[in-house]
């Protein structure tokens, strides 16, 4: 096509309206996270950077004036930048099996070859803080990084719960947190200040409440947010919980969500089918996946993942409150708790079906989905489908197969 014809075409045809609406707060999100990334670099230079897992009680390191970087979030960046196979390959060259978690492999790969990694990798930490309330993999992963960087590992051990938390479980987790306090005091040469921790917890609660209200606004029809919106906007609730920056962002974000609801604007232009999403998304195709479905009128008003950051730390004895909240992350409560939660989401958000993403990397999240699918359909009456792949390693994902399966689900619903 020559330039003249192209120009004519642009002037004669109005630009085609996209099937989804972009959030205007996405600019603020980008700025917030850019500043955070810069702050991690400075913190590393100043000897005050910690790496933490997504379910870690980050309020404690924040209260010690350290900055937290999230390797899982970095994994999402690696995935979005479509360089998962490259970085995972660096880890495999070191002997790490291709069967291991791709967040772990890409993180290890980026430590090995930062110059070939997005943002030149996460800055080198002074401590590695892991909590196994999300999975058991974090221990092996952080110990492997520790061998590479020399940064010490502290594990907050939260054994999986069945039912209510017994007193000895709470006492054990609390003792782990007390150990963490000692570890942080010694590593960063700073005394523990409980009042400060309570203030950080308050900031954390404020951000969590704004985030939760934003998620719950998706009960409206049309839903003001789609899955990709939530997965991208959750970055500050993961990485900046306990800081004013997170509150500033979520105030603006919730404002936009409320405005959308008020005006009856949906995340997608024509909402026909409302689905539940389960698991981490395929970061390398997140826009493509959800926006392709948006064109078919499919929106995901709820998911099992972004709702994970919704618990408030009650006022009271700080460490005990934190021990309670972080032990009860639903991934730490077994399959039946997860199924209950998903059934409730389907009911509360009036969803027509569900998509379970079987993520090869994430055993804790994914093993059990076959049973989950049957039980949810039996209990709620809505159909579901399982699609297979990975969140970072695009070599494990077959787009055509995923589309075919979701199309089959839509045929059942429409």
């Amino acid at each position: 096509m020559d330039v003249k014809k192209m120009s004519q075409k642009t002037t004669t045809e109005p630009p085609k309206e996209k099937a989804y609406r972009k959030l205007y707060t996405s600019k603020l999100l980008r700025e917030t996270m850019t500043l955070h990334i810069l702050s991690t670099k400075t913190a590393s230079q100043n000897g005050r950077l910690v790496w933490v897992t997504s379910g870690f009680p980050v309020e404690i390191p924040v209260a010690f004036d350290t900055v937290a970087a999230y390797p899982e979030q970095y994994g999402a960046i690696v995935g979005s930048e479509k360089c998962g196979p490259l970085l995972c390959g660096f880890a495999e060259e070191l002997g790490f099996s291709q069967e291991l978690c791709s967040y772990a492999r890409s993180s290890i790969g980026s430590v090995k070859k930062p110059e070939q990694s997005p943002l030149t990798g996460l800055p080198i930490p002074q401590a590695l803080l892991a909590c196994n309330n999300i999975c058991g993999t974090v221990l092996g992963w952080y110990e492997a990084v520790s061998e590479m960087t020399g940064a010490p590992v502290y594990l907050v051990d939260t054994p999986p719960l069945e039912g209510d938390q017994p007193p000895h479980h709470l006492a054990y987790v609390k003792s782990n947190l007390e150990g963490l306090i000692t570890f942080m005091s010694e590593t960063f040469n700073q005394p523990y200040d409980e009042e400060k921790l309570l203030q950080v917890a308050d900031l954390s609660n404020t951000a969590v409440n704004l985030w939760t209200k934003s998620l719950e606004a998706c009960k409206n029809k049309p839903s003001p947010l789609n899955c990709a919106d939530r997965f991208l906007s959750m970055a500050p609730i993961v990485a900046l919980r306990g800081t004013q920056q997170a509150i500033d962002f979520y105030q603006a974000f919730y404002g936009e969500v409320k405005e959308r609801v008020k005006q009856g604007l949906g995340a997608i232009r024509e909402e026909r089918v409302r689905l539940l999403w389960d698991n981490i998304p395929p970061w390398f195709t997140i826009y493509n996946f959800f926006n392709t479905l948006a064109k078919k009128g499919v929106v995901f008003p709820a998911d099992s993942y972004t709702h994970a950051w919704s618990a408030n730390i009650p006022r009271g004895e700080a460490l005990e409150s934190i021990a309670q909240v972080y032990s009860k992350i639903w991934l730490n409560k077994g399959l039946s708790a997860k199924i209950d939660k998903m059934c409730n989401l389907i009911k509360d958000y009036e969803l027509d079906g569900f998509v379970l993403f079987s993520v090869r990397s994430c055993k804790r999240y994914s093993l059990g989905q076959m049973v989950t699918k049957e039980v949810i359909t039996r209990r709620t009456g809505v159909p579901g489908v399982i699609i297979e792949g990975d969140m970072v390693d695009s070599q494990q994902y077959n787009e055509a197969q995923a589309e075919t399966r979701v199309d089959a689900l839509l045929e059942m619903i429409l």
């Binding site: 070191l94 002997g95 790490f96 099996s97 069967e99 291991l100 978690c101 772990a104 196994n132 999975c135 058991g136 993999t137 221990l139 092996g140 992963w141 110990e143 492997a144 520790s146 061998e147 594990l155 051990d157 054994p159 999986p160 069945e162 017994p166 000895h168 479980h169 006492a171 054990y172 003792s175 782990n176 150990g179 077994g334 399959l335 039946s336 079987s358 090869r360 055993k363 804790r364 994914s366 093993l367 059990g368 989905q369 076959m370 049973v371 039980v375 297979e388």
Partner: protein, 407 residues
């Protein structure tokens, strides 16, 4: 030249052995995790049996578990789905050890409603707080057993069981230490069989077999004046500290260590012996394995009979050699380095179950240490079905051939 070992025979012997201990009164509880406290089951008049993988059972898990579930879990599930497990009164899953087994327990409950599924959750940490936590988990587990089976905790039965496991471990530990000095004194496949027999059917009969072998080994060592050296080594291994050897270990051929997690030692023995025959290196010997179902459970310190049983059991479990599911990678790596240095090791076999995260995370660091110590290594990616057996045996043969050249 010896005849090839058959894994079919191994599996069939296990089944036969189990039949010998089952009576109409026996309440058999299957367990999976190597640190499961057998004594607690005995104390409730139950008989624990370790559920081994079965290489002939596969392919019945697909409707319930994805392929990336660990190979051991898949195999157990398939055995249950095909009704090939022994008749069990209950099955005890571990909690807090790895994600596959954690979720397997949940899926099992959902799929096999008629099964009594128990769960004992372990801490990942290994400190005093972890012992306190596990003490209460064990107490709660004991209460649960009482409610489920209507049989109270019997202190007499508990003491008998502590004596049984302590005597078994002492005898097995001595055999391990003796084999490090003189691997030819008792072949590895025979040792692996002894271990299997005890954990399949723990009782006086299988204990007697281990004790008899230990006695014969002791007699042989006495001739060579090696008993004090073997005892010192056994004591050191129990403490996780290997002393300087006070006698020169036998070196008829390459001295090999096997590391791995919940891998069947007899399966390793079959692969090893057959590959040796094919490579014509009969003198190569496994002098030590650091596998879950032998070394890590054999070297449990005994429970003290004087204190609170649950606390003593917890202390014993937490003080046992750590699994890769627990904290302590630097300690485990250091231990391996010391083994290389002090036990005159030539080769390292790394056995890794397919999709076993805890094991797979540690392998690269083990490789680094082996390289530093100039110990030749081979990685064996395994599943219980040996679905890639020809390639695995090929790798082992190449390993033996390289070891021979190196020597």
């Amino acid at each position: 030249m010896s005849a090839p070992l058959s894994y079919d025979t191994v599996v069939s012997e296990r089944r036969q052995l189990l039949q010998t201990i089952i009576t109409p009164e026996t309440s058999l509880v299957g367990y999976i995790y190597p640190h499961t406290p057998l004594e607690l089951f005995f104390a409730h008049h139950l008989t624990p049996t370790l559920l081994w993988a079965d290489h002939k059972t596969s392919g019945a898990y697909e409707a319930s578990l994805q392929t990336f579930c660990c190979a051991y879990s898949r195999n157990l599930f398939s055995q249950r789905a095909k009704e090939q497990l022994p008749k069990l009164s209950a099955i005890a899953f571990p909690g807090g050890t790895c994600d596959s087994l954690q979720n397997l327990g949940d899926v099992w409950r959902a799929r096999f409603h008629e099964d009594t599924v128990l769960r004992l959750t372990y801490p990942v940490a290994r400190d005093e707080a972890a012992i306190t936590y596990l003490t209460e988990e064990l107490r709660g587990f004991s209460n649960h057993l009482e409610v489920t089976f209507g049989s109270k905790f019997s202190i007499d039965k508990y003491r008998e069981a502590v004596a049984l496991t302590a005597e078994f471990r002492a005898a097995a530990q001595f055999i391990v230490a003796a084999r490090i000095f003189q691997p030819s004194i008792y072949p590895y496949p025979e040792y692996a069989k002894l271990i299997r027999q005890f954990f399949t059917a723990p009782g006086p009969h299988t204990l007697q077999q281990v004790e008899q072998v230990a006695s014969e080994v002791q007699h042989e060592l006495r001739t060579n004046q090696l008993i004090p050296s073997a005892e010192a080594l056994r004591y050191g291994l129990l403490k996780g500290q290997i002393p300087e050897l006070t006698a020169t270990p036998e070196r008829k051929g390459p001295r090999i260590v096997v590391v791995g997690g919940m891998i069947d030692p007899e399966g390793i023995a079959v692969l090893f012996e057959n590959a040796k025959i094919n490579a014509e290196v009969e003198e190569a010997q496994i002098v030590l394995d650091i596998l879950s179902f032998s070394f890590r459970t054999v070297f449990h310190p005994p429970s003290n009979l004087q204190g609170d049983p649950f606390h003593e059991l917890a202390q014993s479990i937490i003080s046992a050699p750590a699994e890769p599911t627990q904290e302590g990678l630097p300690d485990r790596l250091h231990f391996l380095e010391v083994i290389f240095d002090k036990l005159k090791i030539d080769g390292l076999i790394i056995a890794e179950h397919s999709f076993c995260d805890p094991d797979q995370f540690e392998i690269p660091d083990m490789l680094k240490i082996a390289e530093k110590k100039k110990v030749l290594t081979v990685r064996l990616p395994l599943d219980p079905e040996f679905s890639d057996r020809a390639r695995i045996e090929g790798r082992l043969q190449s390993f033996f051939e390289t070891l021979s050249v190196k020597r």
